[in-house]
Subunit: 185 residues, 2 copies
Amino acid sequence: MGTREQIVEAANRLFYQQGYERTSFASIAETVGISRGNFYYHFKTKDEILEAVLEARLQDTRAMLARWTEGAATPLKRVFRFVEIVVANRADIEHYGCPVGTMTSELAKLDHPSRAQAVDIFRVFRDWLREQFTELGHAANADDLALQVLAFSQGVATLSNAFGERGYVKREVERLKTRLMSLDT
Amino acid sequence: MGTREQIVEAANRLFYQQGYERTSFASIAETVGISRGNFYYHFKTKDEILEAVLEARLQDTRAMLARWTEGAATPLKRVFRFVEIVVANRADIEHYGCPVGTMTSELAKLDHPSRAQAVDIFRVFRDWLREQFTELGHAANADDLALQVLAFSQGVATLSNAFGERGYVKREVERLKTRLMSLDT
DNA sequence: GTCTATAGCTGGATAGAC
DNA sequence: GTCTATCCAGCTATAGAC
């Protein structure tokens, strides 16, 4: 893997675990195992790394959703697949929250130029969920349902991160799935 | 108002609007209108200011909930009062997110010693909501319901902050209130 | 492409005069 | 209680050798 990709990967993880503001060039360089000087050959400013990280996350998200679209047979199963992210990643979420939600929140407070790019990741999920609900026969309020599922995952992620209680995420996910099943006609 | 109180008030606002990590002593001192040197007469470290801010928020929260307990006639109306916070504060939330959620998330990433204190604010809301649902006759799952309402407000706050769409918060709040009304026997 | 060295700035924190 | 002056560490960013 090229140095540039290694930098993006390390920055991606550190931004998630420590936050963008907190993460320094030095710590990224140290993680990758290169000097700070070399760093600037690949990225001129910290904002450039952020852009690359957000771009990578966007691509990863699109790829993941494409796999889910192909892999799950019914739209309801696809929505379930989304909802179960918080279960699969619950260990990380307990420590660092949702990568998408915490990043958009931080960039909003910093009034950062890349804020819109971070929100785009939310938008990709929202569009994909809307499609699933449309296929499910709820075209009229598909976007509303998409936002509800997104809000659910954000709420659960925030509280799981705050309280760190065993079983909480799974319990809430099961309840939402039960509610969602009543949408299947 | 004493200088110390002014510092806490300014820090409280800046921590909310910019985040803890981003906010510098200089900016707090400038907001209050004192020198950096004077600052250290009142607080020895940045962590001490954070503790004072969190303590103030905790007191404010308790006081607000006590007013609501007295002011609203029924437990359902009290829960509504809570849910409507996101409507009343929607302008701030669009800009900076929920003060409680974003603070706990940031302190979690920073692995900050005061993280538990920030979570206590969530806990005060949770306990108060649980009491309301208990009074409402749902003692068996009062804590679950409290967490659901909390998660709702966090999810809506995060998405409102991300998308900034007019009408979104009000619409979601109305929907939750409708759902909650079915709990009233 | 990668390194060392270093500039220039801002952060938190201290000392001491008033 | 409030100020000015100052220290030192850490940060982003640059220059130039290899």
